[in-house]
Amino acid sequence: MKIRQISVFLENKVGRILEITEILGEKGINIRALSLADTSDFGILRMIVNDIGKAEKVLKEREFIVKESYVVAVEVPDKPGGLAAVLRVLGRENINVEYMYAFFEGLQDRALLIFRFEEPDLAVSVLEKHGINVAGEEKLGVR
């Protein structure tokens, strides 16, 4: 149930994220979730897109360095304490979160949490064992 995420290396320069979103937009690729990690001189743009194969291809054609990695998407009700409940489970089971980001889907009244674990498969089975709703790629509209 883990899902694929693509990461793009960027220097901290004006207009770089715009350039990537334009490339993806022109090719009809939809960004489903996105987060940017940065240091003083470079950043990593992490994205979940609806067509990973195509996104990687068009970005590489434009000389971007792209890495595919697995993350875990967890669906929680959009209410206070939603994230804490998931983190409590992870803490109890001693599973470390490398990084995470979240976004909220208004219409369905739920939040999606994207987690990066060292061992995504193990994390998925632990989360599911505790009745936590792990979302698959189809939930995020990924082909």
């Binding site: 290396f9 990690a37 470079f42 990593i44 971007f64």
Partner: protein
């Protein structure tokens, strides 16, 4: 404490000249007289007498190296030259050159002309690839070093009444001890503070009332910067002059150093292979460095053909150590590009003058007084999969200090979605380069294809320093 109003450069020079004058007792005449030249006899030799002295020294040197150093015997034999073919200093062009590679190849003691028990000190070059270049000193060499350094320090007005704050590094680096020996010879009071520890430098400048400072030109500006931050008014300090060297600098830097530190800033030149600092120094007329040419015989050659250049023509500086005992060198190729200045200097010295260095025939960089070759950095980068060949070395001057940044292109092998992993890569490259070069550097990961591709030889070094 003294104050000064600079009306124009002439007044400034006149005042500096007055300050550098030493009233001393002239034994021969039994009267007081004023001198400003350390070794008046040797530094004002008429051309003919100088040539005669240089010829005698060269003949002796050629015989010594031929007898004592198998490397030179072999070189001479192969070139079909025997010591008896050398009749005067003019014959020097018949002799083969010596290169830095020759020194490395004969590391550690292959270039020594005396038995090890006669060596009293050893110095090595800074941060070169692999094995360093070694200079050995006999008692007489140390004595000669003190002599030539005393000449250099006298040029900046140093006398036995001065306090020399020596901020060149003490240790294997020749800067610290070379200046030390010269200042001791003069009888000045040396403060052997060595490099770094800037706040303490400022404190001692104020508390000891140092009158002469010796350090790299960029460090002198850093001292000014820190001093200004601490609210120090350099116009109120007794500091009067500085011998600045071990890295290239410019007239603009001189102006800045002189106005910020309120002193006379003079260029000092030297290299470990020859002796260290003391090969040459500017007098207060600032019209080229006076080479101590009764010890170090300079030639300017065309680096491609090896032919001697015409007087005043620009080429590579080649030095023969006429008097060095332990590690004498015949026609050593310094790789420094410059020219010799024909004619005599207003200061009265007849020692030949050399213009500011214009560059190098190799790709050596001097960063904060440390010699850096791009190949040293390349050797480290090749160990990382995919890194080489797309890297670039960026040298800039931030404030007054040089900064070296290594730009490394990101690639498929290195990319990660985790910042931590990329920072680990950066740090590991940085630590390795720093421990090899002995200076702080920055490593920056950049986007692929962002480093300019060039046809033919890649442009590895971008030197943005305006010096």
């Amino acid at each position: 404490m003294w104050t000064r109003h600079i009306l124009d450069e002439k007044d400034f020079l006149a005042e500096q000249a007055r300050k550098s004058e030493i009233r001393c007792y002239d034994r021969a005449r039994g009267t007081m007289k004023t001198i400003r030249i350390w070794n008046r006899e040797r530094e004002t030799l008429p051309e003919s007498k100088k040539a005669q002295l240089q010829s005698e020294l060269l003949l002796n040197l050629v015989k010594r190296v031929y007898d004592a150093i198998p490397f030179y015997r072999d070189r001479f034999d192969r070139a079909g030259i025997s010591p008896k073919d050398i009749g005067s200093i003019r014959d020097i062009s018949k002799l083969p050159f010596t290169t830095k590679d020759d020194l490395r190849y004969n590391y550690p003691f292959g270039m020594f002309a005396v038995p090890l028990e006669r060596i009293v000190e050893i110095h090595t070059s800074s941060g070169t690839t692999g094995k360093p270049v070694i200079g050995g000193y006999t008692e007489a060499d140390i004595d000669m070093w003190g002599e030539v350094m005393a000449r250099c320090l006298t040029m900046s007005g140093t006398s036995e009444r001065d306090i020399v704050q020596n901020a060149y590094g003490y240790g294997l680096f020749t800067g610290g001890l070379g200046v030390h020996y010269g200042a001791r010879r003069i009888g000045a009071n040396v403060i052997p503070i060595s490099g770094g520890n800037t706040r303490r430098q400022i404190m001692l400048l104020q508390d000891m009332g140092s009158t002469i400072i010796t350090c790299t030109p960029s460090y002198s500006l850093y001292l000014a910067e820190v001093g200004e931050e601490l609210g120090v008014d350099f116009k109120k300090l007794p500091l009067k002059a500085g011998n600045f060297g071990a890295e290239p600098w410019s007239e603009n830097m001189r102006k800045e150093i002189e106005s910020r530190l309120n002193l006379l800033a003079l260029d000092i030149y030297g290299l470990t292979e020859i002796i260290g600092p003391g090969v040459a120094n500017e007098c207060m007329y600032k019209s080229g460095v006076h080479i101590c040419d009764d010890h170090f015989y300079p030639e300017i050659i065309n680096p491609d053909t090896g032919q001697q250049c015409d007087p005043g023509e620009v080429g590579e500086l080649v030095i023969t150590t006429l008097t060095r005992e332990a590690t004498p060198l015949i026609r050593y190729r310094t790789r420094d590009i410059t020219s010799l200045i024909p004619g005599q200097c207003r200061c009265g010295r007849t020692s030949v003058r050399m213009k500011r260095l214009m560059g190098r025939t190799d790709d050596m960089l001097i960063i904060r007084g440390v010699n850096v070759f791009p190949s040293q950095i390349e050797e480290i980068l090749v160990k990382y999969e995919g890194l080489e060949p797309h890297y670039q070395i960026l040298v800039s001057r931030v404030g007054s200090l040089d900064e070296l940044t290594v730009l490394v292109e990101m690639n498929e092998q290195l990319i990660s979605d985790e910042i931590r992993e990329l920072e680990t890569v950066e740090n590991s490259i940085r630590t390795e380069i720093e421990s090899t070069l002995g200076i702080k550097v920055a490593v920056q990961l950049v986007e692929p294809k962002s480093i300019e591709r060039s046809e033919g030889k890649a442009k590895r070094v971008i030197d943005k320093r305006k010096i």
